[in-house]
């Protein structure tokens, strides 16, 4: 009883303070930063550390696709400060005028990026974005079942593995893989090329157990599939449960992706947002993120700080000699209808 009274005392004082119109108390309340990120990118300890250091509160909201992020911002969601779109979405957001230029003075940690991430096609001068995490799309496979390591997308058309293959449920990635295997760009908008790619995918469909972008890591780990088209980091997480899993980027080439930290034009806390971006790019913080999420950090000094097991895992840190055969996914504008139609036809066969 006494304890309750004591606990309530500051509250009562605070309330009376407000009643007397002491504005300063409210004005000095902890600023709030709104961070909009991928649902699997949240590292609570790191967020808490930033909150302690800057005496602020960080509110995290998540999305599960670039399109969802864009749709929310386009339909007028405001109040977010920092977001994490992928490469091609950065280009769209710049076009749509959704992004605020970042001040390179305020983000010194952005100056030590991996060399191949310094001048990016979607934001050549790095005026609007800071690359955060990056990686590849490839094939995760079970080395206990596959005697020889596959090196080509063709393995996904191998009748022997019928019903034990999963593909991403993502039209651009699935078409991207088959386009590369045909020696084409994954950003093709040639109707004939896309039609030919669809024919190849129709041949593959009877072999595919499921199209999923979410739980292929569980399918690999449980052995339900032995070949999975997917993002390296997610395959790397499955490796922890099933050590016989391996990851390969096919020789015909694949997607190179980078998720980038951006400051929104509508951000209420621009200065704090840039501080936050700088914090996430601090070598120790970036290394910790990379270690926990199993994605490569864009920070060059961070690479030296992650454990060798993670750094030397090609699913997490793509070997640099692979870079020449990787391609950025670009927005294809109205060409998306070609992919849409072909994808729907694939599903309806």
């Amino acid at each position: 009883m006494v304890l309750t009274g004591v606990a309530l005392l500051p509250l009562a004082l605070g309330l009376s303070g407000c009643g007397q119109g002491v504005e300063g108390e409210l004005g000095e309340a902890r600023p709030i930063l709104h961070y909009f990120t991928w649902s699997d990118y949240v590292e609570p300890e790191l967020i808490a550390e930033f909150e302690r250091r800057e005496q602020v509160k960080v509110v995290v909201d998540t999305f599960s696709s670039n399109e969802e992020l864009l749709a929310k911002l386009q339909s007028g969601a405001t109040g977010y400060d920092v977001a994490v779109p992928s490469d091609f979405m950065v280009a769209i957001m710049i076009q749509q005028g959704l992004l605020q230029e970042v001040d390179s003075q305020a983000i010194p940690n952005a100056s030590s990026l991996e060399s191949h991430l310094q001048a990016l096609p979607f934001d050549p001068n790095g005026r609007f974005s800071v690359p955060y995490l990056w990686g590849t799309v490839g094939i995760g496979y079970d080395s206990d079942i596959l005697s020889a390591a596959p090196d080509s997308w063709a393995i996904l058309w191998e009748p022997r593995y019928k019903g034990r293959i999963s593909m991403l449920n993502d039209q651009r990635e699935v078409f991207g893989a088959v386009l590369r295997s045909m020696g084409q760009s994954m950003n093709s908008t040639d109707p004939l090329v896309i039609e030919a790619a669809k024919e190849r995918l129709l041949l593959q469909k009877p072999l595919v157990k499921t199209y999923t972008s979410d739980h292929y890591d569980q399918l690999l780990a449980s052995g339900e599939v032995v070949l999975a088209h997917g993002w390296g980091g997610q395959v790397a997480r499955a490796m922890a449960e099933r050590p016989s899993l391996r990851y390969v980027v096919p020789k015909e080439g694949a997607t190179l992706w980078a998720d980038c930290l951006v400051l929104l034009k509508s951000a209420p806390q621009k200065a704090l947002g840039m501080k936050f971006i700088n914090y996430l790019m601090e070598p120790e913080v970036a290394a910790h993120t990379s270690e926990r999420l199993r994605f490569a950090s864009a920070s060059r000094p961070a690479r030296q700080l992650v454990s060798p097991a993670v750094r030397d895992n090609p699913a997490v840190y793509p070997p640099l000699d692979q870079l020449v055969r990787l391609e950025w996914m670009r927005d294809v504008g109205k060409g998306i209808r070609l992919y849409d139609r072909a994808w729907t036809e694939l599903k309806m066969q």
Binding site: E67, E68, G163, T210, Y211, S222, G333, I336, T344, M348
Partner: protein, 296 residues
């Protein structure tokens, strides 16, 4: 006769109008959150997609013209088929269950009804994931089937059309059972007894007495199952392995992946029109078969 009818209508009107203002909050709610969004979807379905997604307000019927492509007819008929199959399965499973509950001792009925509704306490997505675990290659169902010696090797259950129908029937069965229960509960057991006394066979009692008298419940249950199952998209993605599309998947795809809101809106409207037509047709048929019995 006519005068009597008019009088009763007037009385009903006067009674209902006295309570009219009570309906205002509900009507405002419906207008704001149902009619306005519906109007917006309708307007957007005649707009065009911008180069980077988004909506460009230039009037066009191109979205509806695009839907004439046989591909979309195929998706629609595919969805109709799944929805009808689900409704039929729910009816076959739900009717005996509803009958049993309605005819069980009065003190047990609330408990049994609660059990029917119990699954709603858990999120649908979570329950669908549970089905994935059950249907897996090395899941519980296969485990039981193999250990009982019913099958030699585990069946491929997950990521098949069967799994989609199982998921849909599981998800929407309660919507069938509840209206049927209400209808059966109101059915006078004496009428069933009378039919037997008049030497009707079991089948004749069911088709000529029980079904006509519970028709409102049957129609209600079927509509409640049919509508959500035709638009479902989680079940075909998760249990069907996204190997085919239902119209709900197409709408989700157009809105969220292709960022083509105008086309997505057009698909939504066509779906609404089809569902509306199906429901009206169904209610009419229901009226016709239920009508004569009530008059007798």
């Amino acid at each position: 006769m006519l005068a009597h009818r008019t009088a009763s209508v007037t009385v009903t009107l006067r009674n209902s109008c006295r309570a009219c203002w009570l309906a205002v909050p509900g009507l405002v709610w419906m207008a704001l959150f149902f009619l306005v969004p519906l109007g917006l979807v309708f307007a957007v379905s005649f707009a065009s997609r911008g180069t980077y997604g988004g909506i460009v307000w230039e009037f066009t019927t191109a979205n509806y013209v695009d839907l004439l492509h046989p591909l979309y007819g195929k998706i629609l008929s595919h969805s109709l088929w799944y929805a009808m199959l689900t409704t039929a399965c729910c009816f076959v499973l739900g009717f005996p269950l509803a009958y049993m509950i309605a005819r069980s001792p009065a003190r047990w009925q609330p408990v049994l009804l609660l059990l029917v509704m119990l699954p709603f306490w858990t999120n649908f997505l979570v329950r669908t994931y549970a089905w994935m675990i059950l249907l897996r290659h090395d899941g519980l169902i296969n485990h039981v089937l193999v250990s009982l010696g019913l099958v030699a090797t585990p069946l491929e259950l997950l990521y098949t059309p069967t799994a989609v129908v199982i998921g849909l029937v599981y998800g929407y069965l309660p919507f069938m059972v509840l209206p049927l229960y209400v209808a059966v509960e109101r059915l006078d057991p004496l009428l069933v007894e009378a039919a037997y006394d008049l030497y009707a066979s079991r089948w004749a009692v069911f088709t000529r007495v029980v079904v006509p008298l519970t028709m409102p419940g049957i129609v209600g249950g079927c509509v409640l199952v049919f509508i959500p199952s035709i638009g479902s998209f989680i079940t075909p993605d998760l249990l069907g392995g996204a190997r085919s599309m239902m119209i709900g998947n197409l709408i989700q795809h157009e809105y969220l992946v292709a960022r083509d809101w105008p086309l997505g809106s057009a698909v939504s409207f066509v779906l609404m029109a089809v569902v509306m037509a199906a429901v009206v047709l169904y209610y009419r048929q229901g009226d016709r078969s239920a009508g004569p019995v009530e008059r007798r």
